[in-house]
Amino acid sequence: MSGFLSSSIAKKVAMALSALFLIFFLIIHLAVNLTSLFGENVFNELSHFMGTNPLIQFALQPILILGVVFHFVLGFVLEIKNRKSRNVKYVKYNGAANATWMSRNMIISGGVILAFIVLHFVDFWIPEINTKYILGDMSGQFEGETSFRYFTELQHKFANPWRVVAYVVAFILLALHLLHGFQSAFQSIGFNNKYTSCLKSFGKFYAIAVPLGFIIIALFHHFNH
C-alpha cells in the first residue's frame, strides 16, 4: 500500500478525487449565491444557517479547506516533478499542434485561482471568522439592527469595480481550468467508456455555466447596490 500511495497513478487519482470534491462544492456555493439575485431573505437565512451550524463550521469547513490545500499542494508537487522529467528542453516545441491551451496550462489557471482564493478569504472568510470567533458576535446582525447583515455586506464588497474585475478574471480562468479539469478527473479515475462523449459535453457545459453564474452574481450586485 505504501508503494501505491507514492506511485504516479495514485497521485493522479488523488488529484482527481480532490478535484471532483471541489467541483461538487462549487455547485453548492453557486446555488446559495444565486439566491441573492432574488432578494435578501433567503440568502440571509442560508448564510446565517451555514455560518452558525456547528456541523458545517467545524466539520465540513475544515474538510473543504483541507481539500483545497491538498489539491493545490499536490498540483504544484506534480508540476515540479513533471518539469524535472525533461531536463533538457526542446528548442522548438509546438504544444498547440496536439493539445489545448487549457490542458497545457493548468498550473497558470490554477495559480490565478489560488490568488483569487486568497483575495476571497481576505474579502469574506477572515472578516466572518473575526466577527464570529474573535469578537464573539454570533448574531449575524449589525449592531442595533434586527435584520441579517450578509446580503448588505455582499453588496458593499461588489461596489468596488476593481474587485469585480478581479473576480471576473478569476472566474474566466476557473472556466478554463474546468474545461480541461472536469473530463480529466474522470479519465484519471479510470472512467473512459461509451458515456465519455456525453460526459465531455456535460463537462464543457459545467465549466462555462458555473463560472458564468458567479460572474453574473458579481456584476448584478455591482450594478444594483
Binding site: 504516479s8 513533471n82 524535472k84 525533461r86 528548442v91 496536439n98 493539445a99 497545457r104 484519471s188 473512459n192
Partner: protein
C-alpha cells in the same frame, strides 16, 4: 519542384558532452523523398566535406519497427499524423523552409549521440511484466480453444499495435510514458490468457515506469494525437482501473 532547405540540427558528440543546434543547408531535395532520405542526402554532403555525419535512428523504414524518432518542427515524427518519421515525406514542406530537428527529449531517454536517444527504459518496463508466462515444452494448447469476445480481441489488437517508438513520451509536456505502458498493460488485460498475471503485471510495470523517471500524465491527450499507431487514451483509463483494483483488492 525540388526544394532548398535550412536545417537546424541538434549535434551532440556523446552523452557526456553538451550539445547545440547547428545550421545546415540542403539543396535539390525531391518532394518524393522521405524525411530520412533527406537526412541521407545531408550526410552524404557532410561525408564528402570530411565532416562527421549526423547520427539518427532508423531501421525498417516501412513504419513498422518504431526505431526512427526525431522531433521535427516541435512535433514528434513531424507535422503529419499516424506515421513514423520514415513515412514523413518532403512534400509536407515548402522550398525555403527552416526545419528544426531535435532528439526525443526526456530524462528517461538520454541522448547517446546527435539525434539518437537511449530508449532502453521501455525495454526495462516490458521486462517488468509485459509478457505472459507460457509453458513452451511441447504440450501447449491451441490458443483458439479459449473463446474471446470479438470486441475484446479487437481492443487488445489495437493496443498491441504500439511499436514502442516513444513519440508519446517525446510529445508529452510531462514526458509521461503512460500511453506506452497502458497499451502494453491493456493488450494482455483484455485477454483471458493475460488475466492470470494481470495484477502483478500492472503493479510491476507502473513501478518500473516510475523508477525510470517518466513524468505524470495530466491528460493533455497530445500522446494520442502524435502516436503513429493511434493508440487510444482509453488504454490509460484502463491501466488506471487495473492499477487501482490491483492495489486495493
Amino acid at each position: 519542384m525540388n526544394m532548398n532547405l535550412t536545417l537546424k540540427v541538434w549535434r551532440q558528440k556523446n552523452a557526456q558532452t553538451k550539445g547545440k543546434m547547428v545550421d545546415y543547408k540542403v539543396t535539390d531535395i525531391s518532394e518524393h523523398m522521405s524525411f530520412l532520405e533527406m537526412l541521407d542526402v545531408l550526410n552524404e554532403d557532410l561525408v564528402k566535406k570530411g565532416e562527421e555525419p549526423v547520427a539518427f535512428d532508423h531501421d525498417c523504414r516501412e513504419g513498422i519497427c518504431g526505431m526512427c524518432s526525431l522531433f521535427i518542427n516541435g512535433e514528434a515524427h513531424g507535422p503529419d499524423r499516424l506515421i513514423t518519421t520514415c513515412q514523413l515525406h518532403m512534400r509536407k514542406f515548402k522550398n525555403g523552409d527552416t526545419i528544426y530537428i531535435e532528439p526525443f527529449r526526456a530524462k528517461a531517454f538520454p541522448v547517446i549521440k546527435d539525434l539518437i536517444v537511449d530508449r532502453m527504459a521501455f525495454e526495462r518496463i516490458q521486462q517488468a511484466g509485459g509478457f505472459i508466462s507460457v509453458n513452451t515444452s511441447g504440450n501447449t494448447t491451441d490458443a483458439n480453444s479459449i473463446l474471446i469476445p470479438k470486441h475484446n480481441a479487437d481492443l487488445s489488437m489495437d493496443a498491441a499495435a504500439c511499436i514502442g517508438c516513444g513519440a508519446c513520451v517525446a510529445t508529452c509536456k510531462n514526458s509521461s510514458a503512460m500511453l506506452f505502458v497502458s497499451a502494453k498493460v491493456s493488450q494482455f488485460a483484455l485477454l483471458p490468457q493475460g488475466r492470470i498475471e494481470a495484477k502483478e503485471r500492472v503493479l510491476n510495470m507502473v513501478r518500473q515506469m516510475d523508477l525510470e523517471g517518466f513524468g505524470n500524465c495530466t491528460n493533455t491527450e497530445a500522446c494520442e494525437v502524435e502516436c503513429p499507431k493511434g493508440i487510444s487514451l482509453e488504454n490509460i483509463a484502463r491501466m488506471n482501473r487495473e492499477y487501482l483494483s490491483a492495489s486495493i483488492f
